[in-house]
Amino acid sequence: MSRWEVWAPTTGAGHADPLVDRLNALLGAGRVQVLTRPEGSRGPRCLVQPDTTEAVAQAVRVLRESGVPSSVVFTPPPFDPPDAPAGGVYLDASRLSAVLSVDETSLTVSVQAGITWGRLEGLLARRGFTLGPVPLWLQARAVAESVGLNDRLRPSPRYGQLVDALHAVTAVLPGGEVARTTSAPRRATGPELPAALFGTRHRNGLLTEVHLQIWRRAAEAPRVSFTLPGWAAADAFARRLLQAGIRPAVMVAGGVTGGTDVALSVELSTAADGAALTTLAAAEGHARRSRHEALESAFGAGDGTASDAPVVACLAPPAALAAVAKRLPRARVWDLGSPWMSLWTDAPVDAVTRARLVEAGARVPSAPSGFEALGDAVTRALTGEV
């Protein structure tokens, strides 16, 4: 890893790097920063910070014509990551951060995709709107970054995943073309094409604008937690709760420190849900807890403390969790009640734990499906590689 320094942007003719001159001329002063490094270290030569879709498209076209590789970042990295293209360019999407319009009738917002979920939620809150719950680990993540990773890390039965709230996208394709889709909540016009961007880390295009579903802010929601004897019991209770039609704004479970109990916490969104949950819990005899650790670790205790980013996220049946629960004391789980549980933990996951998870049926990100080679072929076709 090499540390690099940012120099004041250089504009005008006569610069030593013709690519930088060209990008400067196209994108305007202040959008290209030359990176210099200590003697002998290699890494990208400049940081390009476009602030419109058209500027991204122009930059992508220039880079392509010049055969210069690029790497998308959402904030200038303090160190060059191992896969940073030597002699290439960082394409920094963090200036694509404007809110373009709000449609108060349809409750949709149009934003540039370099904006982070946390900042967007803050801006929406001022106008009385919300994206729904944004857990701490997604606050600093940009919308396009979440799509590139296919983040499915929001534990919300009521609002679903943030990346599923997209009604339309604008993206710059690897060839520099601009693809736009039409805004509608659902469609049947062939495959859902923007899904080509999901989980492919910008290889099939860089998302620059999105049209998202938002909601009106409701009053502060009550939080309720229960103690259950183990993961399987928590999962079963969560399922019955969902099957009873209760849809909490947040539902998350976490192992209780120093034992095998599991705390299931929910944030309710309607009074009717509250009443139904009270009846259900009483019928099953589950003890209420006064602390809501699982919720606090997802959304903070109100004192602004942030948790670490998840180290591993995977889909797992409850058996897999039981198998590794002792090894993953800080495991948190949601999507309870669906065929799979989503798990994350900020505890270190060693090779044995990972193997145990897979052995018990979990699907971790690295598990192969039959589609990898096809995914690579799609990317090659889009980038023009044969």
Binding site: D103, S106, L107, T108, L149, N150, D151, R152, R158, H167, L173, G175, E177, A179, R180, T182, S183, A184, P185, R186, R187, A188, T189, G190, P191, E192, L193, P194, A195, A196, F198, N204, Q213, W215, A236, R239, Q243, G245, T270, A272, A275, A276, A313, L315, D335, G337, S338, P339, W340, R363, P365, S369, G370, F371, L374, A377, V378, T379, A381, L382
Partner: protein, 529 residues
């Protein structure tokens, strides 16, 4: 020319390849799994796209060279490999209830009817999933789930004549989609045979990494043949509330629907009819004061549609006169009082069904809607599959009927509704209902009827009406289909609708179907003159 019409000259070399392929298929699958007999080829030669029917009045459609009935995913894979090697197109066929030409045969190609692959492989009530093979018929699957106290919650009007594979391939929506979602919301994972003849399984929904489910759902047989799907199922609802409302205008109805969905409620059914469709829906409630039946064009149209008789009968002649003068008839209908019927069915636990019903009631009262009680909702439920089967009498009377469903945001909905009506109005008599609502927008389901002096005139009118409607929807920034798919019916307009986004599809097609044999010519077509 669309790509499903016969090429002027068919090369002898291609014919020989097809013949060789059919021999190989017979040898590999056994004689009972392959047929070149005309009745069998005709039975799977087209779906229920009305244009195919209109065309068949003038000329017989060229059918496929053969039909194959694989019995297992492994056989599907083998057929795909053989066809890819021979360069012979394959059109997957579920139950042929599609209304867009998606399953229309490609001349000298093979039709693969998947209905023999129909097992329910796994039903896990506890985890709420069913894994079912693609050829399973919708009605039979739902009955099986019902016996286990479950429901898929997917009730297309065609449930008795459509398959799971067809639903997934065409992104279908059922009548209760507002609560249970469209089929894409139900898919957990899919088993697919891709164009290289490999059986693959998509990573389950929720997996980190690429979202292959979203790319295969809706691909209409052009990226792979779906052999099985794992779908979410739910406990059968314990309680239901029914209600009908008479809202003072379409806009007032939109307001009730929008507010309900944006407040986070999920009624099973929330269905708004425009003034004409309000009468067509068989309800008496919308008759405005002083709106005598004899001068009510909507009432007359309804009576004629229901009892026109064969083409030469007086009723049929009267019907053709009324819809032949579409512009005037539409104007007369526009002058009717604008009251609209809104039906709601809420379900789930008693608490949920009642609280959702109460929320809708509060929004409805806010627009001064009149409460019609339970009867309209109960009537709708009892007759919900009837309407589709009334269509053939319209054809017998010498007219045609088709539907066009689009979707957009709430803000654009009224303008889209007006624009498509205006575009269709000179050619056909048009009505609409609104039955799939979301927090962000809604679909519009237009039904239109038209006629012409001869079959060829009807076809011209039909094509003119469709082109006008698609142009208008495109100009309004709507998506051109909400749940019927593209097939051939919208393929002319998809290149313009998708623009550069089509590059994603082209890349997918090249990767998943390198030989280009899977349902060629569907989804993206050429503009018609």
């Amino acid at each position: 020319m669309n790509s499903a019409t016969v090429p002027a000259t068919e090369s002898a070399e291609h014919a020989a390849r097809v013949a060789g392929l059919i021999d190989t298929l017979r040898a590999r699958l056994g004689p009972g799994s392959v047929s070149t007999e005309r009745p069998e080829r005709e039975a799977v030669g087209r779906d229920l796209w009305p244009r195919s029917l209109l065309e068949s009045f003038s000329a017989a459609a060229p059918g496929p060279a053969a039909v194959v009935w694989p019995e297992s995913p492994a056989q599907v894979a083998e057929i795909v490999r053989l066809c890819a090697r021979a360069g012979v197109p394959i059109v997957p066929f579920g139950a042929g209830s599609g209304v867009c030409g998606g399953a229309r045969a490609v001349p000298r190609g093979i039709v693969m009817d998947v209905k023999r692959i129909k097992a329910i492989r796994r039903l896990d009530a506890e985890r709420g999933v069913v894994e079912v093979e693609a050829g399973a018929m919708g009605e039979l699957l739902e009955r099986r789930l019902e016996r286990a106290g479950l429901t898929l919650g997917h009730f297309p009007s065609s449930i008795q004549c459509s398959t799971v594979g067809g639903w997934v391939a065409a992104r279908s929506a059922g009548q209760c989609s507002t609560r249970y979602g469209k089929i894409e919301d139900m898919v957990v994972d899919l088993e697919v045979v891709t164009g290289d003849g490999e059986i693959r399984r998509t990573p389950p929904v929720g997996s980190p990494g690429p979202d292959w489910n979203a790319l295969i759902v809706g691909s209409e047989g052009t990226l792979g043949i779906i052999t099985a799907a794992t779908l979410r199922v739910h406990p059968a609802p314990a309680h239901r509330c029914f209600r009908g409302w008479l809202v003072p205008s379409l806009e007032a109805g939109f307001e009730v629907m929008r507010r309900t969905l944006q407040a986070g409620h999920r009624p099973a059914v929330l269905r708004l009819y425009d003034p004409l469709d309000t009468r067509m829906a068989g309800q008496k409630y919308a008759r405005g004061d002083g709106d005598a039946p004899s001068v009510d064009p909507a009432g007359r149209l309804k009576t004629l549609l229901e009892g026109a008789g064969d083409a030469s009968a007086p009723g049929a002649r009267a019907l053709r006169a009324l819809i032949g003068a579409a512009r005037l008839t539409n104007l007369a209908i526009d002058a009717l009082p604008g009251q609209c019927l809104l039906i709601s069915v809420t379900e789930g636990s008693a608490v949920e069904a009642q609280s959702t019903d109460a929320a809708i009631a509060a929004f409805a009262r806010g627009v001064r809607a009149r409460d019609l009680g339970e009867a309209p909702g109960r009537h709708w439920l009892a007759h919900r599959h009837d309407v589709s089967y009334k269509q053939s009498r319209i054809y017998r009377a010498g007219a045609f009927v088709d539907t066009f469903e689009v979707a957009t945001t709430w803000a654009r909905l009224p303008a889209l509704d007006r624009a498509v009506r205006k575009a269709l109005g000179p050619h056909v008599v048009v009505m609409a209902h609104f039955s799939h609502a979301y927090a962000g927008g809604c679909s519009i389901y237009f039904t239109f009827v038209g006629t012409g002096a001869r079959p060829s005139d009807m076809l011209v009118r039909y094509r003119t009406a469709w082109k006008a409607a698609l142009d208008a929807a495109l100009a309004e920034g709507a998506v051109l289909a909400h749940h019927h798919g593209v097939g051939l019916s919208r393929a002319t307009h998809l290149p313009a609708a998708h623009g550069e986004a089509r590059r994603w599809y082209t890349a997918l097609k090249g990767a998943l179907d390198p030989a280009g044999v899977l349902n060629p010519g569907k989804i993206y077509g050429e503009a018609e003159s």
